[in-house]
């Protein structure tokens, strides 16, 4: 049944801090993850990935390896089960990484070339490391740059409009009193969640069962069914606990290889990726090179806005990091141009990584806004206030709610922004130069059709079933609070069952759309259930179950610009004699609709802000041009913030009501990271007078750029 309007009865669970329902299990080790659940007869698969960046596999010399202790099979392009990688899934045609061992071509370093299966994980690993694979190597190109000759403007997709344009850009720039024209770059970045990708697959009475760690069990089940040409009803995927995902945990080679191996060996097989393999097998964020041109009148009013963003993709699949989307929401101008361009190189296909587009895009745009404020002699918040649009700059649609200025006002008050001397390079404390910076944040607030079932049990409790995923965010707890309020019962009477594809289609934990989409379905099912319960009569032993499907209701949402907003503030200390940058404090104020669980919401927002700090100062994958592969692809080589880097961080929110919205919840999964790198870079400028337009702001870059009281210096890229 579809329910198009839902009333939200508030009994007090929503908006109240609740610890995670599974928190105790997780901290005591009782919660089992996909890589550690025991199964009888379990065999272990270990992937072998290519050591060349382009070419063909000449031979996989499996015979010696098959004689090694415990080895059961070596799957490769010569003997692996055939799969159908030519289908349209949730995100369209899949990245060919989901169809390994189907041909002898190697499109990049780290491409799967074989799976060794053995009785133990150690035996599989030793045999995989001993497996000799011979290649016919071809020249490769992994060197990304904005001016790469293979660059093109992609076709529009449902997920991304490639280019938007209005007005006469050159004329408006020429007529502007203040112009910023700058290039910003961000490096290749990886999500690499703490829990590596792991999946167990087995056949059970004609059904394929997969125990996985993913962002959407129905998504994975549906794509596995398509890949292996199975009846979707014969595939069951579960993912009870997930130790982080961030966009990386969709359909990936580990599930596909586990299914292949269990099909061949007729026993359960588990495949777990190593940290190093994750760098080439689970996606990442493309490096970006972004040119931003802003033109404004002397009073700061924007006349021209131009954002040209470049990224890379693989030669086998197109994924575009949509960095240029930021300005389509944030800033209007008489002439407005945004474009995402992409170049295919011999590298793995990038993918969605926390705040795709907005994270790198906001670094460029929000840095450029700060440069414009400097040129106009304006306060950066005043500049943004002046340029606050009334409607979507590109769409012309009204905003469902846009409380960005409330975020800036509250943030400025709490951060002490009014006391700031805007002049750079003047504030010293011992060897440290001090500065503060700010930036705006936004992220779309979408919803996708989902189904849910709610059962009134005979014992007076309620069971909710929905193929939601709790990737560590606290979604299970938040949905329990939502169900409890909708049912007008205490949360203790609600049993929340998630992450099982048998529960039916639902949105994945992605795009900051999970909780909003699932809550909608749960509330709709509860509404239907309460209608049925209101008819009276007893509850039979099997309970009374009501189901929802929000497809129609989601489709009926009026067209609006729907986004969460935020204001980021940072204070940094910079020692220009050593290049060290330390963030001293950060504050993020967000307008993100109704906050379901303040405890886990704050944690998620602070987590995003810490990631933004890492993006600003630490994160950078090194790709070796000679081999085409990574150097230092582990957590010793790929730096992110350690505890000692993380200062006092506060995240809070302002009221952000939307009475016309049936759910009132916006996503908070991604907005925490948006704008942070710009706020920190702007603070580094305020401290030193030098603009850093290339992330991360590493000590060597800061050291060589030095300091210039009064501003005016630009740090040059060294990579």
């Amino acid at each position: 049944m579809t329910v198009t309007t839902v009333t939200t009865a508030v009994t007090g669970a929503v908006g109240t801090a609740h610890t995670r329902l599974e928190g105790r299990d997780k901290v005591t080790g009782a919660a089992r993850y996909a890589g550690e659940i025991p199964y009888a007869e379990l065999a272990h698969g270990w992937l072998v990935v290519s050591t060349i960046a382009r070419g063909r596999i000449r031979s996989v010399e499996s015979a010696p390896v098959l004689d090694m202790p415990g080895v059961l099979a070596v799957l490769h392009h010569g003997n692996a089960p055939r799969v159908n990688g030519d289908y349209a899934g949730m995100l369209g045609r899949p990245d060919p990484i989901v169809a390994p061992f189907q041909h002898d071509r190697v499109p990049y370093a780290g491409w799967p070339v074989a799976l060794v299966v053995a009785e133990t994980s150690e035996q599989a690993r030793e045999a995989a490391e001993a497996l000799v694979v011979r290649y016919d190597e071809e020249p490769h190109d992994v060197a990304f740059s904005a001016g790469h000759p293979g660059t093109y403007t992609p076709e529009n997709s449902p997920h991304m409009q490639a280019e938007t344009e209005k007005g006469d850009l050159e004329a408006e720039l020429a007529a502007s009193a203040a112009v910023v024209d700058a290039e910003y770059t961000t490096p290749e970045e990886h999500h690499s969640p703490l829990e590596p990708h792991a999946a167990m697959a087995r056949w059970d009475n004609g059904r394929l069962e997969v125990v996985d760690s993913n962002q959407g069990s129905m998504w994975v089940a549906d794509e596995l069914a398509k890949l292996f040409s199975l009846d979707p009803a014969s595939v069951r995927v579960r993912s009870e606990h997930v130790g982080g995902a961030f966009g990386s945990k969709g359909v990936r080679p580990h599930q596909v290889c586990a299914v292949m191996a269990t099909t061949v060996l007729h026993r359960p097989v588990r495949v777990v990726l190593t940290r190093r393999q994750m760098f080439s097998l689970v996606g990442y964020r493309s490096p970006t090179a972004q040119r931003v041109r802003l033109g404004a009148d002397a009073d700061g009013r924007l006349r021209a806005f131009d954002h040209q963003a470049h990224c890379l993709t693989s030669t086998v699949h197109e994924f575009v990091e949509p960095s240029a989307g930021v300005g389509r929401v944030m800033y209007d101008a008489a002439a407005h141009h945004t474009v995402n361009r992409v170049v295919p190189l011999d590298v793995p296909t990038p993918t969605f990584m926390r705040a795709p587009g907005e994270a790198p895009g906001s670094f460029a745009v929000e840095s450029a806004l700060d440069e414009l404020a400097e040129k106009c002699g304006m306060d950066p918040i005043a500049l943004r206030t002046l340029n606050e649009p009334d409607a979507g700059p590109v769409s012309g649609l009204p905003f469902s709610s846009r409380n960005l200025l409330a975020c800036f006002q509250e943030g400025a008050r709490r951060f002490g922004w009014a006391d700031r001397d805007p002049r750079p390079g003047l504030h010293r404390e011992g060897r440290w130069l001090l500065g503060t910076g700010t930036a705006a944040a936004s992220f779309p607030s979408g919803a996708a059709p989902s189904t849910a079932a709610v059962t009134a049990e005979a014992d007076g409790t309620f069971t909710v079933r929905i193929t939601a995923a709790d990737v560590g965010t606290g979604a299970r707890t938040a949905l329990t609070q939502i169900a409890a309020d909708a049912l007008e019962v205490a949360p203790e009477r609600v049993r929340m069952r998630i992450a099982d594809s048998d529960f039916g289609p639902a949105m994945v934990a992605g795009g900051s759309m999970g909780t909003r989409s699932w809550a909608w379905a749960v509330m709709a099912a509860v509404s239907e259930l309460r209608e049925r319960l209101s008819l009276g009569g007893g509850i039979p032993p099997e309970g009374i179950t009501a189901r929802s499907n929000t497809a129609e209701a989601v489709g009926a949402l009026p067209s609006r610009e729907r986004h969460a907003f935020g204001a980021q503030f940072a204070e940094v200390a910079v020692d220009v004699t050593t290049g060290e940058v330390r963030v001293r404090r950060m504050l993020g104020i967000f307008a993100a609709g109704r906050i379901v669980n303040p405890l886990t919401a704050r944690s998620q927002l602070v987590g995003g802000m810490i990631w933004g700090l890492s993006m600003a100062l630490h994160e950078e994958a090194f790709r070796d041009k000679a081999s085409g592969g990574h150097v230092g692809a582990d957590f010793a080589g790929y730096h992110f913030a350690a505890n000692a880097d993380v200062p006092l961080i506060e995240a809070d929110w302002v009221d952000d009501p939307d009475d016309d919205d049936p759910v009132g919840i916006k996503g908070i999964g991604e907005i925490g990271i948006v704008g942070v790198a710009a706020a920190i870079a702007n603070a580094v400028w305020h401290a030193t007078g030098v603009r850093h337009r290339h992330l991360p702001i590493r000590p060597d870059r800061v050291l060589l750029a030095g300091a210039e009281p009064g501003g005016g210096r630009d740090a040059r890229s060294r990579r």
Binding site: T51, A109, E122, R125, E126, E129, R431, T577, T578, G579, E580, R582, L617, H618, F622, D624, K625, A626, S627, G629, V631, G632, A633, D634, A636, G637, H639, F640, A641, A642, N643, A644, D645, R698, P699, D700, L703, L704, R718, R719
Partner: protein, 330 residues
Amino acid sequence: MREFGYQRVFDVPGAVALLGTDPEARFLGGGTNLVDLMKAGVERPALLVDVTELPLGRIEATADGGLRIGATVTNSDLAADPQVRRHYPALAQAVLAGASGQLRNMATIGGNLLQRTRCGYFADLTKPCNKRVPGSGCPAIEGEHHNHAILGASEHCVAVHPSDMGVALTAFDAVVSYETADGPGELPLAEFYLPVGDTPHLETALPSGALITGITLPPNPVAAVSRYRKVRERASYAFAIGSIAAALDVRDGLVREVRLAFGAVASRPWRAREAERLLTGGPASAEAFAAAADAELAAAETLPHNAYKVTLMRNLVVAVLTELTEEATR
């Protein structure tokens, strides 16, 4: 990962004898580097001889006023030792600047000296590396090398030694004691690490099969006013991109004695003897410190992405010696 044997030993002769039974055996201390390298396939020992129960876990004052540090003393215990903190503060600071609390609780000082470079090419079996596979080449020179050597490197290897502790020990003229089947021996730390040359895979002058039993610090009054400063790309849990151990004795504005060693600039902790020579007897001024640093760094050979280290080390010399001068004259 290769299957390996594991045996714990309880006396030094037994340890040396057991290692001698198998050319593919390795001593295991805290395992904080060796086990990582085993996982990466860089090290493939057939047998691990666990030396952590050997009676080498003490820190004792020597008769002449120095310190004798047993090889199995953990980094944490070394850093916490009152004698170390009082007489060699830079050594305690250096140890605390390294790794994490958990790693320092495991890591031993003998193992610390023998840890391998963290060059990303060295730890990656899919890449060439002269240190791992002699003659295979050094891709870092054309590739990723922003944290590689500027002093004492060669066309065959530009990796840096990762130790913080070793930098302070080098400044204070530490001597390494070892035991072999033929008996005990000693090596000054200054002679412990071999020049890179065309044999980057040969890292130390320790005889084959030797077990490090301890480190001796000679009495060193100047070390009481000493400091270790480490610059790294995050505030903790990262190797240095440049570090300095310095000790200074200043009287009446003149440098009476100075000790200076650099980390993360060479294949070994780098004693800055030229800078020390220039500074001794001269004025304790920022100009003199900078001139001494420039003289020491005149031999630097930089690559496209590590030239910043020259500026960094110069700035560190000036900053830390200036701080020590202020400390000495307070």
